[in-house]
């Protein structure tokens, strides 16, 4: 752990908001420029991963608890698939967003936004879950050893 390195700790704290804002920018600008849920999700997860690298996985787990993470992964899939079901109920083909808004273009816009939120949720939580699973393994082993002693 790099808990003693004050420079790293300060720099990371300065960087975190910037990374998160950038992630949101990529997320919501995705309709009009390059970007979208996947890229934004990875960027947002990278912020927490950076935090975890410097302050330890257990600290990161306090920010985003594992339990919530594991619920978020399927939730994002459900948001995506649910949007499709919604368009079915509104009488269009699966994932046809047009009927979601008052006129087709608004519907397409809204649909893409919702779907990308679903992607964001799943991708960011999956990335984090992967990091916890690998990065947290050594720490978990340490904790269980201490408990045994």
């Amino acid at each position: 752990m790099m808990r003693d390195t004050i420079i790293l700790r300060v720099v990371v704290k300065l960087l975190l908001p910037v990374i998160l804002i950038f992630a949101l920018y990529v997320q919501f600008h995705g309709d009009y420029g390059p970007g979208g849920g996947f890229q934004a999700g990875v960027a947002a997860a990278a912020a927490v991963i950076l935090y975890g690298l410097v302050f330890g996985v257990s600290a990161a787990r306090k920010v985003v608890p594992q339990g919530i993470l594991l619920a978020l992964i399927p939730l994002g899939v459900l948001i995506f698939a649910g949007t499709g079901i919604l368009s079915l109920l509104l009488g269009a083909n699966y994932l046809d967003y047009s009927p979601l808004g008052s006129y087709p273009k608004a519907g397409q816009h809204l649909g893409i936004l919702i779907v990308e939120v679903g992607v964001f949720v799943t991708v960011s939580s999956t990335m984090l879950a992967i990091f916890y699973a690998f990065g947290g393994r050594a720490e978990d082993a340490l904790v269980s050893e201490e408990e045994n002693e």
Binding site: I73, I85, N93
Partner: protein, 475 residues
Amino acid sequence: MHLPALQVVIPLIAAALCALFRHYFLAWFITILASWLSFAIAILLLLQVMSRGVISYELGGWVAPIGIEYRIDLLNAFVLLIVSGVGAVIVPYAQKSISQSIEKSQQSWFYSMYLMALTGLLGVSITGDAFNIFVFLEISSLASYVMIAMGPDRRGLTAAYQYLIMGTVGATFIVIGIGLLWAMTGTLNLYDLAQKIPLIENSRPVLAALAFLTVGISLKLALFPLHLWLPNAYAYSPGVASAFLAGTATKVAIYLLLRFFFTVFGGVEFFQSTPLPEILFVLSLLAMFAASIVAVFQSNIKRMLAYSSVAQIGFITLGISYATEIGLTGAIAHMFNHAIMKAGLFLLIGAVMFRLGSVKIEDMAGIGRKMPFTMAGFVILGLSLLGAPGTVGFISKWYLALAALQEGQWWAVALIVAASLVTMLYIGRVVEVAYFREPTVKVDQLREVPSSMLLPSFLLVGAAVYFGLDTSLSV
């Protein structure tokens, strides 16, 4: 009307729900609902296709070939029926078997992966978009790697790893092939490709694409020299996963082979102008014999059945290599029959594992007296596997033999019969141990498995006999 989309979406949503609730019994309940629902949808789709012809469904309302199209003709309606049918029949069985072999906290993950694999396989069969095929194929493969890794001992991990490496290489070959086709034609829609490829079919990139696709798909379907991942993957995974994968995964890969050879690449004439028929023919014969002979020497019964799968896949590709109507009928019928037989056999062996805790053939001495129904089912399916009249196995082998005769290859008919005789050797070995040896002390204490495990297995046994007598569906 929206059935094609629901076919894929229902298991997908169910998989997410299983992962969300993470409760072992609820997950099983969701799985049973979703799998039987998608089986019902598959039946409805098949009926619709039979009465009204090809169904096309445009995802998101975007018109093909720009948008992704789901397109169902008789062939993939049939494959959907096989996949969802096997997927649905296994689930009632799964509850007892999985409760015993996997920890409670992990069970919902297993069901989630099971549904994901189902989603992927149904998606591959239903979609009319080449890149979509790759994505769904990888969804199903990744889910199956996880299921295999959940096997009862540590060898499941290495089997899953080995499968992951070979499966990913195969999938990457498939994408390379798709990429070359896309670069040449600018379209990914299978039916649009089918119209554009004949114009340029002798250009080098198209031939390279055909080669990449053939090798990639052959890896996924475990054609003889590329089958190395299969025996361990089937042998060391949980019984439910073996039955599901043996019944569906390779069948879907065979469907892909048929789809690419005969729809995308302009049909029989082009296929016969390439060296593919000869290559497939030789490899199929090798598979039929080499894998069957290896199966005879296995001591683990699941490995034995896995090698037998490789051999049976040889029979299917033999039918494809003839590329005649009778040959293809035989191949498709054998695909259907083998799905029923192997899924049933693995379920019954899972039942033996459930009671006995071992899948070594020697440990099964005299088990026929203690678990009469399980072993009777095994014998019936075993007879079907070797092609005894009155069972499904006979029908498809009959057609394969006819196809060989049509080409005037008497010796090929003799080889088909000879390979079936080797099948008799390994099935006979199990029957000998199970019925004609004195039960050991351990076997003596066994009881028959609960009916929730017997009934699904016997549904498949019943199907094997029924479709052997009434051939209207499979032929």
